[in-house]
């Protein structure tokens, strides 16, 4: 080993340190995997309403000509409680239509959850078996999807919408979908 080659191990080491440092410093969550749904049509499902006798969710609900947000939540999910404030702001001051899908939840528990914290949803439907969650590629609650007026998925937010996520991620995605 002679010449510039002697520096090869050092260069490899420095490159590794830089790479690992960048991964540590970045705000990347290793548990967060990009949704394959982004850029594709939202799953066309029909789901029953949470309220007895309420309107079901139909594929037409996701093609309203305006952006719609689909939010998977559950009364048993603690992060869902944390992000609820953001959803209320979305529905209130930002006037975005939100469809809530109660994932693997008991209807009575989901109703109690919304009564306690307020209901930000335009429509709330049930996914008691979790099958709708699988169709949407959901790995846990909460997950939030931004759907454009044509029914195409534009953005998926993994985990709760808390902190500045509403301003920096969800709202820009809604704007972009208009």
């Amino acid at each position: 080993m002679k010449g510039p080659w002697v520096f090869l191990p050092l260069a490899a080491f420095v490159a590794l340190v830089v790479l690992m440092g960048a991964m540590l410093m970045g705000d990347r969550n290793p548990a967060e995997i990009d949704s394959v749904l982004v850029g594709r049509a939202a799953p066309a499902l029909t789901l029953y309403a949470l309220e007895p006798g309420g309107e079901p969710l139909t594929p037409a609900d996701l093609k309203r000509g305006v952006p719609v947000i689909v939010n998977f939540f559950a009364s048993w999910c603690v992060p869902c409680r944390a992000e609820h404030e953001s959803l209320m702001a979305l529905a209130g001051e930002h006037k975005v239509q939100i469809i809530g899908i109660a994932y693997k939840d008991k209807p009575a528990a989901a109703r109690a959850f919304l009564e306690e914290l307020g209901n930000p949803y335009d429509k709330v439907v049930l996914d008691e078996s979790g099958r709708a969650g699988i169709e949407w590629g959901v790995s846990g609650v909460p997950e939030t999807f931004v759907i454009d007026g044509e029914g195409m998925v534009r953005y998926r937010h993994w985990g709760p919408v808390v902190g500045d996520a509403l301003e920096t991620r969800v709202l820009p995605a809604v704007e972009a979908a208009r």
Binding site: I33, D34, V36, G130, R131, G137, S139, G140
Partner: protein, 158 residues
């Protein structure tokens, strides 16, 4: 003591099957298909615990996916069709062994790359020139040292 042992054996007999399939998970009627489904479950990643397969995960979602796999196979899907179904929803990530493709080339290629680098390193060392032969002066000094050692009654070291 005898009773205790008998009781333990009784408990073991009835408790052990619990380690198999969950109570609400019904195996497929066709044992061959069930075996195929089990093999597939070992290849599907649990999206909650991530580095486990759904076959050995207790997560709720893993259970749902096991039920779904059995359902689809009972309906006539082969394992490839079930894989396509899962990948369409969760991406390649859902497979513990992702397919070889442009996106996964680094993943699959890195062991080969490391092997090549090591081989190149070994070759470079081999090719390094052998040390030059001793000069006349060094030869003389070596001889003197050896003779001195012998005179001291010590065996020169091999």
């Amino acid at each position: 003591m005898k009773h205790l042992l008998a009781r333990l054996m009784l408990v073991a007999t009835f408790a052990l099957p619990a380690y198999g399939v969950d109570v609400d998970e019904v195996p497929l009627d066709d044992p061959a298909k069930e075996a195929e489904a089990r093999e597939l479950m070992k290849e599907v990643r649990c999206l909650v615990c991530q580095n486990q397969s759904i076959e050995d995960s207790d997560a709720d979602l893993a259970r749902d996916l096991r039920v779904l796999i059995r359902e689809r196979m009972a309906a006539g899907d082969d394992t490839d069709a079930v894989k396509v179904y899962l990948v369409e929803r969760y991406g390649d990530w859902v497979l513990l062994k992702p397919p070889v493709a442009g996106r996964t080339l680094i993943l699959w290629g890195s062991p080969l790359l490391i092997l090549l680098l090591v081989a190149a390193g070994i070759l470079m060392r081999r090719r390094a020139a052998p040390p030059p032969p001793l000069s006349a002066d060094e030869e003389a000094r070596l001889k003197a040292l050896l003779e001195a050692a012998e005179a001291n009654g010590k065996e020169p070291r091999g």
